[in-house]
């Protein structure tokens, strides 16, 4: 359940067009704040604010490179819903197998 909520938060965060734009640019390659601000119609503090929200949602990660901070996408955020489904289907197929084996054939006629 927690992961399902994480997925919903990640996806809701991307519903903001500027944040989606930032996220898409970071998906191309890692970039610094200044570089993002130079090509977007928003101020540098605004870009920093969006990056903070993306980071809180687990969508973006930052690393230090000298005095600059480089931002990159964090696949755990966008992959959250996928991870949830991945685990869900593992459990579901196990449950399917266990159910079929526990019920004699005469109860379930093809």
């Amino acid at each position: 359940m927690a992961n399902r909520i994480t997925a919903a938060i990640a996806l809701s965060t991307l519903s903001d067009p500027t944040r989606r734009e930032i996220f898409e640019r970071l998906a191309e390659r890692p970039r610094a704040v200044g570089e993002l601000a130079a090509t977007l119609p928003v101020t540098r503090p605004a870009v920093s604010q969006h990056l903070r929200v993306l980071k809180d949602a687990g969508l973006v990660a930052e690393t230090a490179q000298g005095t600059r901070r480089i931002y990159r996408i964090d696949p755990r955020g966008i992959g959250a819903i996928r991870d949830w489904l991945d685990r869900h289907w593992s459990d579901a197929l196990d449950a399917f197998k266990a159910y079929a084996e526990a019920h004699p054939e005469e109860e379930i006629k093809p």
Partner: protein, 156 residues
């Protein structure tokens, strides 16, 4: 950005016809309680056995909550479903990703069941569309956050 599909396989010791039957007609029996989307627990999960058929759960009061529909019904080897639950696990007739289940004969009378849940990247589009069209992205986010925070509080 494309996200890899979810692919799962499992081997069972009975033929494809029975595997297909249990998977489809008895989904309500093997599906985990509480892993559904309606407010009330399910008493059955129904896949209507023809292309265009509905895929839905039904609660004890007879309330039906749709999950998707049948794209291809090809017993005993293949089932193709449209999963129409969006990023918020709400049914949306305008949203769909594909869920394909194959039942291949394996060994002496067994079956290899392969499940593929694909078009994952569409979940991102659906979240954006929902939020843009009804503007409920942020209220929902805050609500979810409050739930999540509450849960964390109780599990401490």
């Amino acid at each position: 950005m494309t996200i890899a599909p979810v692919v799962k396989t499992i081997s069972v010791a009975f033929p494809p016809a029975r595997a297909f039957e249990v998977f489809t007609r008895h989904m309500g029996g093997w599906w985990k309680r509480g892993m559904t989307v309606a407010a009330e627990p399910h008493v059955d999960i129904v896949i209507e056995p023809h292309p265009g058929g509905r895929w839905f759960e039904r609660d004890a009061a007879g309330v039906e909550t749709q999950w998707g529909r049948v794209l291809a019904w090809e017993p005993p080897h293949r089932l193709l479903l449209a999963w129409q639950l969006d990023a918020h696990f709400k049914y949306d007739p305008d949203f769909e990703v594909e869920l394909e289940i194959g039942f291949a004969p394996e060994g002496d009378g067994g079956t290899r069941v392969t499940l593929e849940h694909r078009n994952m990247e569409r979940f991102g589009d659906s979240a954006a569309t929902i939020a843009d069209s009804v503007g409920r992205g942020w209220p929902m986010l805050l609500e979810l956050y409050a739930d999540y925070a509450g849960q964390k509080e109780t599990t401490k």
